[in-house]
Subunit: 184 residues, 2 copies
């Protein structure tokens, strides 16, 4: 997955591992958290598969940096990946695993859990506000600026997702509060 994400970024312009890390940090991190260690590993794999080519660029004073450029084979693979399979949602929501077993703890504690989740989502929403600016700056590298609509869609998703979580957490809190006075 990350392999193809990196391949996609390289399709816009040639980059170093470090630059790729920056793009992830600024524009994709809210839906994909990439560690540098994995980025470098995947860049090597991309080269081995012939999907990208490495060019060492000497720098004054600093060690060489390795610029990676997508190859024609890589472009083909990117398109293949985009068309492969239908849209499938990942069936793995870690917080639900915890919520499922929350009955083992006290109700008050669990109410606090859901309130903390709401707070987490509000902070996340604020952080999301910074993303469009990065996206706009980055869209300068696009051959067709219209492609940035798709980037905007991912931000919309992030917002809708956080709002959904806040509402859901609220409904959980309501359920727990309404049952509070009852005999247990």
């Amino acid at each position: 997955m990350l392999k193809h994400g990196i391949l996609g970024l390289l399709s816009y312009k040639e980059m170093t591992g470090y630059e790729i890390m920056l793009v992830f940090r600024d524009s994709l991190r809210f839906f994909w958290n990439a560690h540098t260690s994995q980025i470098y590993r995947e860049l090597q794999a991309l080269e081995e598969k012939g999907w990208a080519e490495k060019t060492p660029v000497p720098q004054q004073g600093k060690p060489d940096k390795n610029l990676y450029a997508i190859s024609p084979k890589g472009r083909k693979e990117l398109l293949r990946w985009l068309s492969e399979g239908g849209p499938e949602l990942e069936a793995r929501v870690p917080i639900l695993m915890k919520v499922f077993f929350l009955g083992e703890r006290g109700r008050e504690e669990n109410i606090r859990y859901f309130m903390a989740l709401q707070e987490y989502c509000r902070i996340f929403l604020e952080a999301l506000d910074q993303v469009p600016a990065h996206i706009e700056a980055y869209s300068a590298y696009l051959d067709n600026p219209e492609k940035a609509v798709y980037w905007q869609m991912t931000v919309d998703y992030g917002r809708k997702n956080m709002q959904m979580h806040i509402q859901w957490a609220q409904s959980c809190i309501d359920k727990l509060e309404s049952g509070k006075g009852e005999v247990v």
Copy 2:
């Protein structure tokens, strides 16, 4: 993660790997897809850590089955896990990785992509309707039937999540259709 999920199930009653697989298939699969191969591996790990104990149960005609029961140490670990850390959302949404790069394909194709996603979500929603019945049946094993509220919460999440996806996909389709007539 799966380790603690299994531990949680064992906290309700002792089970075999096969029974655990059935519970996942019927009640948890929509937020966690567990393969039998991993279930058996984790059960071994649980035993090695002293969180669960295996008892071979001979059967007539069939090979022995291995019943796993949670240990006091395991119960402690379950509670530790539940209280560990705050609520964190996973920062990994595979479909967004694809959507981010959808600009490389044609608009018509992408509209179909989002329509297929909506269809996928509708099927998912229908499948979700079967879960509450399983949950109810399974709640017979609870010391306190009130604990099933938390199970219900996970189903609510699933529904809200699917509705969110359908709406988001619709907004994406609208965006793409409104730009259709324009010069590219």
